[in-house]
Point group: C2
Chain length 797, copies 2
Amino acid sequence: MESYMIYMPIVLAILGLIYMLIKRSSIMKQDAGDGKMKEISDHIYVGALAFLKAEYKLLTFFVIGASIALAGVATVVESTSYLIIVAFIIGAVFSAVAGNIGMRIATKTNVRTTQAAKTSLPKALNISFGGGTVMGLGVAGLAVLGLTAFFIIFYQMFMGGEWTNTTDMTLVLETLAGFSLGAESIALFARVGGGIYTKAADVGADLVGKVEAGIPEDDPRNPATIADNVGDNVGDVAGMGADLFGSYVATVLAAMVLGNYIIKDMGGAIEDAFGGIGTILLPMAIAGAGIIISIIGTFLVKISSNDAKEAQVQKALNIGNWTSIGLVAVACFGLVTWMLPETMKMEFFGEGLKEISSLRVFYATLVGLVVGGAISSFTEYYTGLGKKPILNIVQQSSTGAATNIIAGLATGMISTFSSVLLFAAAIWASYAFAGFYGVAMAASAMMATTAMQLAIDAFGPIADNAGGIAEMSEQEPIVRERTDILDSVGNTTAATGKGFAIASAALTALALFAAYVTFTDIDGINIFKAPVLSMLFVGGMVPVVFSALAMSSVGKAAMEMVEEVRRQFREIPGIMEGTGTPEYDKCVDISTKASLKQMLLPGILTIGFPIVIVLIGLLIYPDNHKLVAEMLGGYMAGVSVSGVLWAIFQNNAGGAWDNAKKSFEAGVEINGVMTYKGSDAHKAAVTGDTVGDPFKDTSGPSMNILIKLTCLIGLVIAPILGGHSETAVATNQNVEVIKEISVETQGDRTLDGTATAKVITKTTIGDGETLVKEKTFKGNLDEVTKQAEAYAKSQKN
Amino acid sequence: MESYMIYMPIVLAILGLIYMLIKRSSIMKQDAGDGKMKEISDHIYVGALAFLKAEYKLLTFFVIGASIALAGVATVVESTSYLIIVAFIIGAVFSAVAGNIGMRIATKTNVRTTQAAKTSLPKALNISFGGGTVMGLGVAGLAVLGLTAFFIIFYQMFMGGEWTNTTDMTLVLETLAGFSLGAESIALFARVGGGIYTKAADVGADLVGKVEAGIPEDDPRNPATIADNVGDNVGDVAGMGADLFGSYVATVLAAMVLGNYIIKDMGGAIEDAFGGIGTILLPMAIAGAGIIISIIGTFLVKISSNDAKEAQVQKALNIGNWTSIGLVAVACFGLVTWMLPETMKMEFFGEGLKEISSLRVFYATLVGLVVGGAISSFTEYYTGLGKKPILNIVQQSSTGAATNIIAGLATGMISTFSSVLLFAAAIWASYAFAGFYGVAMAASAMMATTAMQLAIDAFGPIADNAGGIAEMSEQEPIVRERTDILDSVGNTTAATGKGFAIASAALTALALFAAYVTFTDIDGINIFKAPVLSMLFVGGMVPVVFSALAMSSVGKAAMEMVEEVRRQFREIPGIMEGTGTPEYDKCVDISTKASLKQMLLPGILTIGFPIVIVLIGLLIYPDNHKLVAEMLGGYMAGVSVSGVLWAIFQNNAGGAWDNAKKSFEAGVEINGVMTYKGSDAHKAAVTGDTVGDPFKDTSGPSMNILIKLTCLIGLVIAPILGGHSETAVATNQNVEVIKEISVETQGDRTLDGTATAKVITKTTIGDGETLVKEKTFKGNLDEVTKQAEAYAKSQKN
């Protein structure tokens, strides 16, 4: 009995967190510079903490409100435990702590990176990437720790730490969903609020500083510049961290739910060396292994030459990344073949039960790893410097802003082609290999390298900040040159990181969607039912409206920022001459307040819509909970499909505009003429970039949270809709249901030692129609009896 | 027996066409002006005909190719008749003729409107609206004529003009689908090609003329100006006409298919005064009545004062429109209660058979009429001058093009909210009233006023052209002022017309979608099956990529135009002084060739994707045609949901930018300062308008065709997937199916004179599971036998 395996992920998570602390203290020991550098860095640190403090205050109210709502659910639904509230709160706290760790380390690492860049590029990379590593391990470690710990606790409480049946395990997992919901709710506010914050500050600072006052970016005379740098941390570090924390937890949870469903398909119990829950433990084990693998990967990210360019830095990151992915594949092979029964039975909709070898689950995980890699390449193609789409936008900039915008929009739109086909193929393939468990395991494998992905991703804004500090503290040009190399690579990793985030969100949403159907016990989601179809339309609309709200929020907040900066330029004497000190904190305050205020409406939209749909559904069909469950499922599908499309469209259009603008810095050839910064074409490209800013940093990335949170809310609501199904249908006016279930076990063993059991289900549906279903089991007497009883029970529900 | 009713729609259609001819000759008798006016008008006429000729040439190849493909389908599928090819070709020809009529009358009416505007505004309205009326009646008359004539012919050929059974009627309607497919295919090319044509010419003319050379719009010195005016006719007249022609035919067809399905639900035959096909005839009857009602409506569109302003003109149009809608409601009440059985039985998915009174079908038609009205109001709100969204965009223009673009995009995106909720509610409500027949009848009622809608819509571009001719032929300012009043109203009706077109496309697509499910005989479309879900994603992606292609096409074609105009400015001596004559035909030629070339890729995408999905599906699941049918259904749903969203987004964003720019003409207040044309804010608004041009006139309206054509192709492919289902499932390796159907009729009448029949269906599904379905019929012996046999037959398929 390898039942100690249940503790393995916790051990690995703790190891990861210990390594994180060591790494953290080694970074903190680095020289943090002095004088102006330190002062600016402190401003950023204080600004970031101010945002976090204000955000936590708001979130406290939200968590209290949501807890009350969950208590309501737990009161109404008999099978929902009050413990879901505890899990929810801890999930929220863990997510907030993960974001906090990331933001603190990022705002401490930035100045140390600047300081290191004074002498050595390798050291600067080492420190900035080290900061990212701390962030990544904090997120991944806390996610695995929290999820596994709660699982063990609930497994003890509801099942006494031993396998009983799938229904009890469903209770465990339903309660565990609270942890995921807590994490994802915080992610909503961190991602959306952070996204609004960073772009309000960025756009506001640019509009007055660069355009009106004609001072360069990151100029210390600009009162909004600190807010701008805080924004990098709030949006790109804390927002991204919370996003992936949420994905990570939700993916593993969904895989566990579907693992439980396999046990149901196999007759309600399996014999394995892991206490009969190997299929449920596997995703956690892979997540745990991923932490250690990510640490190994981070060791490989280093350069030796002080004269290295972008290519070498990128190569170092790639080596670390691809090694991690390769090691995860190896780990998946080992864990899958070790932990899963050699062959499993899985129900395929419309195709009945199928025998699935464990190797097919491994193939499904490979699908996930391929998706993670391929999506990054696609993103790089559509947003990468020197690639055809970017050159086309540059070319179109020569005829003005309008053609630049059209080209950028078209690039974003057409980029959905390859990514969506990839997703579609991945869903299909991983399902063909191992059903929806395969889809969830594909997502889990992809997410296993989350720590590594985050390290690569968070290093970008740290380098960006380091450059800002170098500029503001007026360092020698070589310092800025070095940080610019890191920053430039960081821009690419930011784009590919967004690709990873949306791929993870899409697969997570699908896994959650599958888990939802199993929780509600419906026979699938039939969009030929008009109420379901209409909810598919409504679901499709929500990401579009959400994006519009997020974009408008940036506009509104940026306008406030513009007015404040104008006021300071007007009222503070000597500010332009560098003798007067701008009131940075006022700008930080505006961004903080505006972002928190503006994120409310999108938040309400996300959380409110599923709830309203269920309420209206129950009002109109009080006796047909299954139809309401299907309606909510249709809504979830609509949000997912449309959300994925709009995420790719907005991220890639924004990224493409950004790099089209950047192309002018080194000079580009348009119709045979070299064109540089300051040209009309460049101005057109700047317009495009400004349009793209909220696209790629606010509304685009928010889609991830929207689709995941929607599916999670569905999962939490599921027991309300699923639990009452029997009574519900029984009282339906149009359909009368009578169920008679009898089990006849023919005890007489035949010559070859097999016994037969038959289960008959009789259902009378209205209008003189009856349905009789017979199922026969053959095999060993005990086994057959067990299977038949489990089947009968499943038919009763 | 009111079986003469089958001929009623034809008679009404012919009456409409006769009135059209009378109206047409009365317009042609009007004074067409002289000298330069006539010359310019002739240029436009010749240019428009040149486009039509080139288009027809290309379409001939397409029609031949598609006919061969249809012959292939007819060969493979036993139940598909070769007559579908005839129907297809005639459908294509009718659609082309309808477009031809519209374009010829529009290009003859424009100059007559200019001439009339010299003396009288009421007369100018009378003539321009008269041209629209000819167009509207041509489209509606030919649609009803063609559809009804083919129905009668096929009804005679396949059923001998008498009711036999629903299977035979399905054959009739499947063959009739060819007519609809032909119409919609032409619409694809007319809409997309026309959309590319008009915007390539418009953007090209503006970029060189207005921006580079600094000459006003419609200046005769600009070589692209004739192409620009031709474009108005090609895109807004012929394109819109073909679009609505296709919607009209498809909607009525879908309603007929679902009417046949009701007869199936009612046991395979109904007794009524209309030869037992009342439910099938009803949509045709409403369409026929709509033609006469539209004629009545057009009588009401007139103004008396020569000093009338936009408001009076708009009011005259509104009176005509609302009267028509009101009369259709009355006609629906009369026809529904007269032609339908008082109560019908309809199958509701998951809810069984329900008794539906005919009055509920009437309620469903009211839902359709409300949608038609409401969608126009929504569109007007988001794109109307002086409304909040426009004022917001104007305000945002003050900080530059970027904020103008963001505001416009956000407006388009947020406008999906109300429209999608309206659609969702309409689907739900009309389905709740009368199932999918209700949805199709809602669409039919809405489409009944097509002639009137088109008259209102086509009058806009005619007035626009009239203004252009006035400008180019240097008429007195009062002439241009009068045509400007008409043009301005025409801009509003163009926006609301687009709302009507997308609403009709959405409802048509849904009705076709429902018809598809009945044709393939699948049990709905379950998106919980991974292959179906992945196709939902793919379907969602196609409208986005289609839009990107259409937008890029405009960019490419416009660049060619720019180069040609530059060349002429350079090489033709005296062109800017007005002494040299520009080579207008060269520009017309460029637009023509470019649009025809560029529309190929989007066309291939639309037609190719469903076919590829079916081929891949059959390759992977050769024995499970039903799953392939569900996959295609998932694709159709994805295209519809995403297409509707992107249509609303693009149409409204484009319309909003357009009117934000127009706001500057009369002057707007920004931050307390009156701002006019030529200001920086106005320049920013012009940039937004240029971005919006392809949105609202190319890619946005193309979505209508994309979603309708996708669903129609599905419908035509349906027999391939549906017909073989029995054998298909039987050879599936995982599921073994044995069907035993026995009918036992208990002949002994009981005391109350009723007999009982029982049908038992026994299906053995793999893994030792069998399914026995019993259905009992009670009633009159003959009736019961008939019902039971029909039911048994339906179970066999």
